[in-house]
Symmetry: C2
Subunit: 476 residues, 2 copies
């Protein structure tokens, strides 16, 4: 555990994998492209789930469970959808020893089976809206995989709603986008840009897709969640109809939205450093670790007594007292730094004698991050410091993104910008300009931010008049 | 929703399905043998998860996630295991458009992939015990399916632990059995019998399987959870070895244990009546529903104000104020009775004027279950009543089981007993006697209870000396 990881400057991708494995977040599974989420990584996922789930429920959503298997024939009912997902499917052809007549797809996403059921559940306007969320896993066969970011199977939530009008569906789509942004910024301390995806990047079968996009530590972008206004595409394919107040039979408008275990990759890459993970206090499995320090057995007794009393005082916070006898304090320091515990609390014999504690911030390495505080009233100081770490992590990530986002005036400036960060530039909206950028720079349009300057400007590619700016970047 | 369900006396099986569908707990999925767990059923599952998860964590267990797919070759490493599960497998043969060389099994249970990973994670005695639990779904191809009780895919948790000694593994196996019993009795209000499964009924690959068994409303048994001491079978098949304190390389001892969404079936069948579900207050998605009653608009204002104030006072309990204007109070009564909400709180104009509320218990239908209580201090009365309902449900189920469990003295008495309940009888331990019972009566040995009278008695089948009693019953 005390082994150093590959420095980010040397090989960012290797650093990422090293950190995940050394911190015991996840491991490669013996199944192509799949991962095992180890207890420390899963505890982070549980905290993330809980923070998101509260937001979903507070806005009237309820959870449910839909089958893992979807008949192949269902996928074919929405043309764009089946074309988008076909290359990525895992297909069950044998069940109970027999060849299946209609093969079953392991769900890559659940719009089709949801559509089938909603068509049965919805009769009248009184049954609307339906606001259901699922916590499950999905399977998409991937050629190149990377822990948390792109795996054949991944954990996520998928929300699926049905509404009486276009306006309500669009409102829901944006409501959930805002919830994702709020979650990312206030829980994960990850600044994000909310925006609309281009036509070429939208979800297979959607009318319109929105995303939140974040800048990773290597200045590449990561799409961190998406929210889709599905229009009436799925409702028509599956006959989700309702009798409205005016006694007319109408077709529903549906949405879907998802955030996955990929978010864990974002947290790792936005905050981590060469010593390992740095986890935001609001989601960290452990918010603080108490490391007792002693040399003699006589010292040990007093220190441990004090440490245990402190652990009790901190009840309700996510705290661990590291009372291992077979490793040194220095080993413990490195170990918990690797795992990104936001705060270390050191207690030595002198601290006990003087009624003090030493607090060491994970996000501020070395001396500058250390503070000696009085033991009395320590809980309040610790809670305040955790809140400070949370907001400092966000501020640092935001400053980093801003420092690495340019507004190029020429296509040459643009090409330089996307080599090493985000470019925010006018875009005429044409697929041709979008494709040219991708071909020449490997950067893609991440999204068209909701937040626009107004007015018009020259398209960064073709110079024709553009009414919107887009974020361009190389992406995971 | 107000439609009556089929009476239990007329067709128990139909009653069960009716109740589930009318209460919107679950629905049939358009995939053979699969179900959709609807929001109301899933909310019950979430409460069940939370109550169990707390118990797991309080005993040192942590959660993790393992892949959905298991290479077919892994299953073959443990002989009994593959023989037990082979007929029930769903097999992915196509991934990303290509035929797979080593087909992937959709996990029927995760012992094999867990074994593979533990072998990599365990090096020394310091790494032990490993105490991991998974919340996921598994797939077992079933010929005859029934909502919640037996579906091709079902939700469950599977715990997997590795230990240094046989004794520790056995202790863990029994610890988890006790946790299941505690959960069933104190949360689900379902009385259970803890015991050991016979050799013929144990888990494929286990050294020993324990179960908790409950009596349903039709006097049949339902195995409600199992806990397996796997011995060294999987540890040997997957080489889970550790260097012990004495520097010797040793093989681990492992356990696994699971409780599934089947438990929801138990709750339905143990407590429900001809009016629908009756849910235990500790797990019920809604613990009480407030039904305002008025005739005129003038009455409505006062009643609604009072109902809203009450809902606020009951904050923290799981409460719903049913403020629908388009259905009658009578409709609402039937609706919430069908859904098994433990307590109904009625507020009418006279109640408001007199400072009273009417509380109506779901488990005691009609007049006898109604009490008028003063509005002041209502919260305490309501909490007490919920606690009373919880313990009364348990007591009633226990009395029912005891009234329908016989201790037959002869094989003829035995045959009559298992026609209509449980038989507790001496069993010599032979597979032949077990098989004879099953052939002649369709009853099986549910388990050999941990709680034994001591001494010996004549085997109910062959009359030879037996040292243990077993529970025999027809089972789901």
């Amino acid at each position: 555990m005390a082994d150093k990881v590959t420095p980010r400057s040397e090989d960012y991708s290797r650093w990422y994998t090293d950190v995940i494995q050394r911190a015991e977040m996840a491991d490669y599974a013996p199944v192509r492209g799949c991962m095992v989420i180890r207890p420390y990584g899963y505890a982070l996922w549980e905290n993330l789930q809980s923070a998101l789930d509260k937001r979903f429920k507070a806005t009237g959503h309820v959870n449910a469970y839909f089958p893992l298997f979807i008949p192949m024939s269902f996928l074919r009912k929405e043309q764009e959808h089946v074309e988008g997902f076909s290359p990525q499917l895992a297909i069950v052809t044998i069940g109970g020893g027999e060849q299946l007549e209609d093969p079953l797809v392991v769900r890559p996403t659940s719009e089709t089976i949801i559509g089938h059921m909603y068509a049965q559940w919805v009769r009248s306007y009184r049954d609307l809206p339906i606001l259901i969320n699922l916590w499950n896993s999905v399977v998409r066969w991937e050629q190149r995989t990377r822990l948390f970011l792109r795996t054949t199977e991944f954990l996520w939530q998928e929300g699926h709603t049905a509404h009486a009008t276009y306006e309500e569906a669009e409102e829901e789509t944006l409501r959930m986008l805002n919830i994702y942004a709020d979650f990312a910024q206030n829980e994960a301390a990850v600044p994000v840009i909310m925006g609309r995806k281009s036509e070429s990047e939208k979800f297979a079968g959607a009318l319109r897709t929105y995303s939140i996009e974040a800048m990773m530590g290597d200045k590449r972008a990561l799409q961190s969640a998406t929210s889709h206004n599905l229009g009436q595409n799925f409702a028509k394919a599956f006959n989700i109809q309702f009798l409205d107040r005016d006694n007319a039979l109408k077709t529903c408008w549906t949405t879907s939205w998802g955030l996955s275990s990929r978010m864990i990759g974002a947290i790792i890459m936005v905050h981590g450093d060469d010593q390992g993970l740095i986890l935001p206090p609001r989601l960290a499995p452990l918010q603080a670790v108490i490391v007792p320090i002693w040399k003699s057995d006589a010292e040990r007794a007093g220190v441990m007594e004090s440490a245990q009393a402190l652990a009790k005082e901190l009840d309700g916070l996510r705290i661990k007292l590291d009372d291992r006898d077979d490793v040194s304090p220095g080993f413990k320091f490195n170990d918990w730094e690797m795992r990104g515990v936001p705060l270390r609390i050191e207690i030595g014999p002198r601290d006990v004698a003087q009624g003090n504690l030493v607090l060491a911030r994970r996000d501020v390495p070395g001396r500058p991050g250390k503070t000696t505080v009085p033991r009395a009233g320590a809980r309040q100081r610790i809670e305040e410091m955790l809140a400070t770490i949370q907001s400092d992590l966000y501020a640092r990530a935001l400053a980093f993104r801003e420092a690495n986002t340019r507004e190029p005036r020429s296509y040459d400036e643009f090409k330089a910008a996307v080599e090493d960060g985000f470019a925010r530039a006018w875009w005429c909206g044409s697929a041709a300009c979008e494709a040219q950028v991708q071909e020449e720079t490997k950067a893609t349009i991440r999204n068209v931010p909701l937040d626009q300057p107004g007015g018009t400007g020259p398209c960064i590619v073709c110079n024709s008049t553009a009414t919107e700016q887009a974020i361009f970047a190389k992406a995971y």
